[in-house]
């Protein structure tokens, strides 16, 4: 993907406010169960030291986008404190920067965001204040690296009103996605949401570039006539197509993963351990940034055995770790075994503990001799959960 940066258009830089980004980070992600009970899905930790939204934010930063609105709604506290003023991603610019956009009440009543497009409609005044020519719509819950500048060049070259990023998915999985049918110029002629019999395998990634003037007109008109366009996939794109707007599919070929379920989150993390992973996290030319709390280096005690694993600053490891991800400031006691698992930050694991096929939330505590073994499905231990130890009666 990054190789493509140096195409014919490579040396132009996105001009100030030519394009601003809106990251939709309000989703609950209810299929992640315990992991999203108290935090929004984009704030869920990933890969030992990242949160899911770091990928979109870093892509923006690396693509030269300086103005970003992050639309939050569900459990925004942790997400807001993670993003702060955006300085972790180099986004604390003099002109632009990151703005958290939350639903608010006004004279028109309360304005909860009813859907992706509705959230944009509610924030028209924010977008107008930056007066962009193009608007980039992103979702805050995908793991991928993508150069949005390249996509903008495509949008301009095609003189499109809207460009939808698409990825080729296996045909037998295509019925889970919004599927785009295109002609031989990449123009979208038909869109089907989760079709039973898909005509193509081009799935929408939930990433759109709109010519702002046009999208704005549609949003205003639909609202004025009471036909609210709440969702980009369900309402906006079909309306654009019905009105003969130029809508194009921008084909993306790199790694892209929607970690919407416990299984897919676990699988994406496990694949991430591999140093030859397609995401190439060590590539210095397209870094993934995150908020990095300062912690001392991790310490491997005598007796520690760590194989095929990722370990982050601040850990104290005395036990055995096999094919797992150990996040910041985790303690793992002697003779404990962690296998095929993700241990999130600040968890404390005692001695003789066995953890296998599990996702352990932040600040979880495992008493000595505790056992958590996921067999058929992945075991999930929630944030701050305490596992094992004496219960009240035994005390």
């Amino acid at each position: 993907m990054c190789g493509r940066r140096w195409d014919c258009h490579s040396f132009s830089i996105i001009m100030k406010n030519e394009m601003i980004a809106m990251i939709l980070a309000g989703g609950q992600g209810s299929r992640l169960g315990k992991l999203t009970r108290t935090i929004a899905k984009p704030a869920v930790p990933f890969g030992g030291k990242y949160r899911i939204i770091d990928f979109s934010l870093s892509n923006c930063s690396n693509s030269g986008i300086r103005t970003i609105g992050v639309v939050t709604q569900y459990q925004p506290l942790e997400l807001n404190s993670h993003i702060g003023n955006g300085s972790s991603w180099g986004l604390d610019h003099k002109d632009g920067g990151v703005t958290i956009l939350q639903p608010h009440s006004s004279l028109d009543g309360e304005k909860w965001f009813e859907g992706t497009a509705h959230a944009i409609y509610q924030n028209i005044s924010y977008i107008d204040s930056h007066n962009p020519t193009y608007l980039l719509i992103l979702s805050g819950d995908h793991i991928y690296k993508m150069d949005y500048e390249h996509m903008l060049h495509f949008h301009k070259r095609k003189k499109a009103s809207a460009t939808v990023a698409v990825i080729h998915v296996p045909l037998d999985e295509a019925s889970r996605f919004g599927i785009m049918n295109t002609d031989n110029t990449d123009r979208i002629i038909d869109f089907e949401e989760k079709p039973k019999v898909p005509k193509s395998n081009l799935a929408s990634m939930g990433i759109y570039i709109f010519t702002w003037e046009i999208l704005r007109r549609y949003l205003m008109e639909s609202h004025a006539t009471g036909q609210n366009m709440d969702d980009f996939g369900k309402n906006v794109i079909p309306t654009f197509l019905a009105n003969g707007e130029n809508v194009f599919a921008y084909s993306f070929t790199g790694y892209w993963k929607d970690v919407g379920t416990i299984e897919s989150l676990w699988e994406a993390n496990m694949a991430f351990i591999n140093p030859d992973h397609e995401l190439n996290i060590r590539d210095k030319s397209w870094r993934i940034y995150s908020k990095n709390p300062v912690a001392p280096p991790h310490y491997m005690a005598a007796g520690a055995k760590v194989k095929e694993s990722l370990v982050v600053d601040g850990c104290y490891i005395s036990g055995e770790i096999n094919h797992s991800i150990i996040s910041q400031n985790v303690k793992i006691g002697a003779n404990s075994v962690v296998k095929d698992s993700i241990i999130m930050a600040n968890s404390v694991i005692g001695k003789n503990v066995t953890i296998s096929h599990a996702i352990v939330g932040e600040h979880a505590v495992f008493a000595d001799n505790a056992q958590v073994v996921g067999d058929q499905s992945i075991e999930v231990i929630g944030y701050n959960e305490i596992v094992g130890g004496l219960n009240d009666e035994e005390k």
């Binding site: 140093p275 870094r287 940034y289 001392p296 491997m300 694993s309 990722l310 600053d313």
Partner: protein, 407 residues
């Protein structure tokens, strides 16, 4: 703490001869330490944790590595509208590159005396980086105000035979904490306790500017530390005892030992994980990857590494690659270095971005670790690098051996 009550001085005109060749291109303040820190992180964190918002950094002309690390001081919360970091570099008048200014650094303080006046601070605290410690500056100030002395000087009590620096100064302190005298530690004979002067001072800003003006008026070439040594003898001064971890980085060996000390949990707790956790420049590195063939014991490892080989009793900095079948033992491996397969390192300090070719052997000793300079490429046939060092037992002359002025 009330705003502007106290300002800080980082006195970084410390002799760079002591840790040669690690300090050939950097001041002591920029020495990388414990996988991800630099020595300057310690006083900067101590000052800012105590609420000091205005810090003057007085250095010789070797600012690049300090400036690159500290920048706006954001990591220490110094990029606010209040106070901040101020850099005062003193060009080396005699053109030598080893950080010894024969005119003394006092003139640099005199030329920038406006800094003290503008800070509007009542007190000034002065620290350096050679005395590696983690100290509560608020406690020193409290002690200073309670005791009502003109100057408070910080010391650490050590057994005479544990003292590694005969050039450091030692305090004589009476029972009620008053400083009665100050002499070179080398003059101390026999056993017993030594009160090592840590060259950390608190005094009224007004008194400090007066001392600086007086010395310059008499046209003396000296260093701020000499002026303060005189002052603690001549003026009513108090000692403040520091009891935490201290290493006086006076040699490569002491630097090596300080890193090795961090492998003991009690030292790591005292210096890095205690009440004041040390801040440093943040880098965005990936997590460290341990492969199936790795075997790492009793070691500190930073983010961003790829470990395929064997590591024991060592301190590994960021972005280090250790290939399969390589052995790293009792060594300090700085940022960005790579160690080829089959290589073997015992008691070695690799400076930044060193490449050790496959099957190279470097074997130093505990008291004389081999130092490989920044950006070197070392293979089995490299000339001029002793691949095996034998212990000479003659520790007293080590420093002179590294001293370019004497060799």
């Amino acid at each position: 703490m009330k705003r502007n009550k106290i300002c800080g001085i980082l006195n970084l005109t410390e002799s760079r001869l002591v840790a040669y060749p690690l300090t050939r291109h950097r001041p002591i303040a920029s020495l990388p330490f414990c996988s991800r820190y630099r020595l300057i992180d310690f006083p900067l964190t101590n000052l800012t944790t105590a609420g000091v918002e205005t810090i003057g950094v007085f250095t010789d002309d070797n600012l690049r590595s300090i400036y690159d690390h500290v920048r706006s001081g954001k990591e220490w919360g110094l990029d606010s509208i209040h106070g901040g970091l101020f850099f005062f570099a003193q060009p080396n008048s005699d053109g030598n590159k080893v950080g010894v200014n024969r005119e003394g650094d006092i003139i640099n303080y005199f030329n920038n005396i406006e800094f003290f006046e503008k800070s509007e601070s009542e007190y000034t605290v002065i620290m350096g980086t050679q005395m590696l410690c983690n100290i509560d500056v608020k406690a020193i100030l409290r002690h200073h105000i309670e005791q009502g002395a003109e100057i408070t000087v910080v010391y650490r009590s050590v057994e005479a035979h544990d003292n590694n620096d005969h050039r450091a100064s030692c305090l004589t302190i009476d029972e009620d904490g008053r400083v009665r005298g100050l002499k070179s530690c080398g003059m101390h004979e026999g056993t017993g306790k030594l009160f090592i002067n840590m060259d950390i001072y608190i005094l009224k800003t007004e008194l400090l500017t007066k001392l600086i003006r007086n010395v310059v008026a008499e046209n003396e070439h000296c260093n701020l530390n000499d002026v303060l040594h005189q002052a603690v003898i001549n003026l009513p001064s108090n000692g403040f005892e520091y009891t935490g971890y201290l290493k006086n980085v006076t040699s490569v060996q002491a630097y090596y030992q300080a890193n090795m000390d961090m492998l003991q949990d009690s030292n790591l707790m005292a210096l890095l994980k205690g009440n004041q956790s040390i801040n440093t420049k943040v880098k965005n590195e990936a997590p460290t990857f341990y492969s199936r063939s790795s075997d790492v014991q009793d070691s500190l490892v930073a983010n961003g590494c790829m470990i395929h080989g064997e590591v024991a009793h060592s301190v590994i900095f960021r972005n280090v690659t250790i290939e399969k079948n390589a052995v790293v033992n009792s060594s300090v491996i700085m940022q960005g270095s790579s160690i080829g397969s089959g290589a073997e390192l015992h008691y070695v300090i690799l400076d930044k971005q060193v490449r050790i070719e496959p099957n190279t052997k470097l074997i130093g000793t505990k008291n004389k670790p081999i130092v490989i300079e920044k950006n070197s490429v070392i293979s089995r046939i490299s000339e001029g690098i002793p691949s095996i060092v034998t212990d000479t037992k003659d520790q007293g002359t080590d420093r002179e051996n590294f001293n370019p002025l004497f060799s």
